[in-house]
């Protein structure tokens, strides 16, 4: 798979920063959870679940939260009570992403309808 002589400069796929971001946040839920936590700072499992709505499965919310925790985007705090209480708090690293997401959101609001229109016309042709 790997070229030895790079006369034509191969793109370094593994080390591309943009690709790394997409690999981590191109999934279905990570950015959304970050956005929600960015607004509320700290939330419990079920609060995040309700904020997202009924679209996400419990399994995927757990997986998403664990991955975000592993990567340092949030902190998970378990309170040894009955019934258990677990709080998720966004970190500074997590917060640093919020402005970028806002940029994406603005761009999308400005251009997405034109894109969808273009796509519809293209199908017709």
């Amino acid at each position: 798979m790997k070229k030895i002589n790079a006369l034509e400069s191969d793109f370094d796929f593994k080390n591309c920063p943009v690709r790394k971001v997409l690999d981590r946040f191109g999934d279905k839920w990570s950015l959304l959870v970050l956005l929600i936590l960015g607004k509320k700072e700290t939330l419990r499992f079920n609060e995040i679940n309700k904020a997202i709505g009924s679209d996400i499965s419990q399994k995927m919310l757990t997986v998403t939260l664990r991955t975000l925790e592993a990567d340092g985007f949030l902190i998970r705090t378990i309170y040894p009570e009955v019934p258990p209480r677990v709080e998720y708090t966004i970190t500074n690293l997590g917060k640093s992403l919020v402005p970028l997401i806002d940029n994406l959101e603005q761009w999308a609001k400005s251009n997405m309808s034109a894109i969808e229109k273009s796509r519809d016309n293209f199908v017709k042709v």
Copy 2:
């Protein structure tokens, strides 16, 4: 059901702008192709192919280019020659995304190594 407060309301998944962006650019190759075309303006099929390297399959490059064309991010021009020549030119819409990608790239360069380190430590625990 009546919404009591914002947190308990269901998130409007279908109409979330961020989600729309991810649905279109969360794939493996779209942003990369746009980045490459953003630098060169106009390129032929095989030029893009070589710029990406051997990682992408011919099929996926075709699919990616067609989707980008359908959405208005690039223009596909066929020259009726033998052998055929097809040129892909980025549009203004396509160019408008480049600064956002650059932001993502900068963020990734600043934070990605810390994230990967965090992730490695988390696995060990």
